[in-house]
Amino acid sequence: MRPYLAVFEARTRMLLQYRAAALAGIATQIYWGVVLAAIFTAFFARSAAVQPMSLSQTITYIWLGQAMLALIPWNVESETRDVIRTGSVAYELLRPVDLYGLWYARVAAARFAPLVLRAVPLFPFALLFFGMAPPVSGASASAWLAATLGSLLLGCAITNLVHVSMLFTVDPNGVLRLTIPVVMIFSGSLIPLPLMPEWIQGLVAFLPFGGLIDSPFRLYMGHIPASDAWIVLLHQAVWTCVLVCIGRSALKRGVHTLVIHGG
């Protein structure tokens, strides 16, 4: 475990240096929160029908989405990307560590530092000025935190799949452009999942992406009762295991071709 923790710590420390990036990120998130809240308020304004989520819940959902944006696996980790692109992945094979674990630790750090840097300052803003509600109860709050950890692990497994695909395509942009729309739609970052059309709800509940932000957020606001938290966590855990297994076996094949081609 030690080498992975060391990679994690070193990367986190590096990312903390980028202060301006953090400030800019917060400003960015506030902007998007304000715009999205305005759009949804305008949609709710003339609608008489009862929706599966209230306007105030939707607004809380939007701000949570801004604060915890880093949970969404929409990019690759830059160091791993460069290692694969430049071909120095061969050197990483020489190290006495598990390649999948190494990449996983790196991407976990790349997600964790921005998550903390954004969420911590954005929460007070959103709570005080922009109409975000606090967690409905202590139980909901702890369920939400647990599900957030689950989301981090799940997201890193998804990103690692993209990393592994780079062994075959080299350039990650093609794969990313195909995965991003799927992740955006089915995670709830485009529209809160409960507001999606009824006929698609079954698929939405089955796919892994709801575990990234939608179910943690709904635990936070009590839209999913804290007593049902175990369902969310189990859903995340099963999908994480499945994706890690797929990633590992694909990595094994990728390394194999790499060796055959002589790096």
Partner: protein, 267 residues
């Protein structure tokens, strides 16, 4: 001027050629862009399906704004790629190389990249605008169609101007480019919907500072015969698209200022 354009053309051809070197990835990216921008519209459609109206605006009306904004943005993303990727050039220290040549820096940066993949957005914007035109535009005359085309080109000017400003920011820091992304991508996101749904701060910002409303809802509301919008009289709304080229020229001046600053800090 014509010499600059000629050089720009040569540079763009080169950029395109090196872009096409990985065809498999290229096809995937083109499809991906169309898919990604398509999903953005699916979200709008899904919300209209659930709520019926956006504070009194109908889907086809919103489609007019959405289509105009996205077409302008698509053109800008395609042509402004060099500015968009400028941070990489600065990071690698390649900007010095541009300064060593007896040509304008903005022309060289503009010529350093063009991203045909961005045209995936053009498809989506065009389709949405076509839908709006079919359901609204039976009575549009040539003047009004000219106004729409003018709005799209002018919108492209605003977005390219924003990309120039984003690139200028690289002379101060290459860490915080997201903030500029707010204005480009975020500006497009905001301009897809009628600006009158936003608070007064955002409304004024996008009218008087980054004139996206001037190339979108103001002339758009004239076409939809909505009367004065955002407190601007209709006659002014006809001229509002001129703000686009003006914004672009101003952004080029700011760029020159940034280059001067780069050369005095050398970072």
């Amino acid at each position: 001027m014509s010499y600059s354009l000629h050089l720009y053309g040569r540079l763009i051809l080169i950029a395109l050629r090196s872009r096409m070197q990985y065809p498999a990835s290229f096809v995937m990216q083109l499809a991906g862009t169309a898919l990604l921008t398509g999903t953005e519209f699916v979200a709008v459609w899904a919300l209209f399906a659930r709520f019926g109206t956006l504070a009194g605006w109908r889907l086809e009306e919103v489609c007019l704004f959405y289509g105009m904004s996205n077409l302008g943005y698509a053109l800008a993303e395609c042509l402004g790629e060099g500015f968009d990727k400028f941070a990489q050039q600065v990071r690698k220290g390649d900007f010095d190389r541009l300064l060593l040549r007896p040509c304008s820096t903005s022309m060289q940066v503009a010529g350093s990249g063009m991203d045909p993949m961005r045209l995936g957005r053009l498809v989506q914007g065009g389709a949405v605008l076509a839908y709006a035109a079919v359901s609204l535009g039976g009575a549009w005359d040539w003047l009004e169609i000219g106004l729409i085309i003018g709005c799209i080109l002018s919108g492209a000017c605003v977005f390219v101007g924003l990309l120039v400003l984003q690139a200028t920011l690289c002379f101060w820091t290459i860490e915080s480019l997201e903030i500029a992304n707010v204005l480009t991508h975020g500006g497009n996101e905001a301009a897809q919907f009628p600006f009158d749904i936003y608070g007064p701060g955002l409304r004024r910002f996008f009218t008087f500072v980054v004139p996206l409303a001037c190339v979108n809802i103001l002339p758009g509301a004239v076409l939809l015969e909505r009367g004065p919008t955002l407190g601007i009289p209709a006659w002014a709304s006809w001229g509002a698209p001129l703000m686009g080229p003006l914004f672009f020229l101003i952004s080029l001046r700011v760029w020159e200022f940034g280059v001067r600053r780069y050369r005095s800090t050398g970072t």
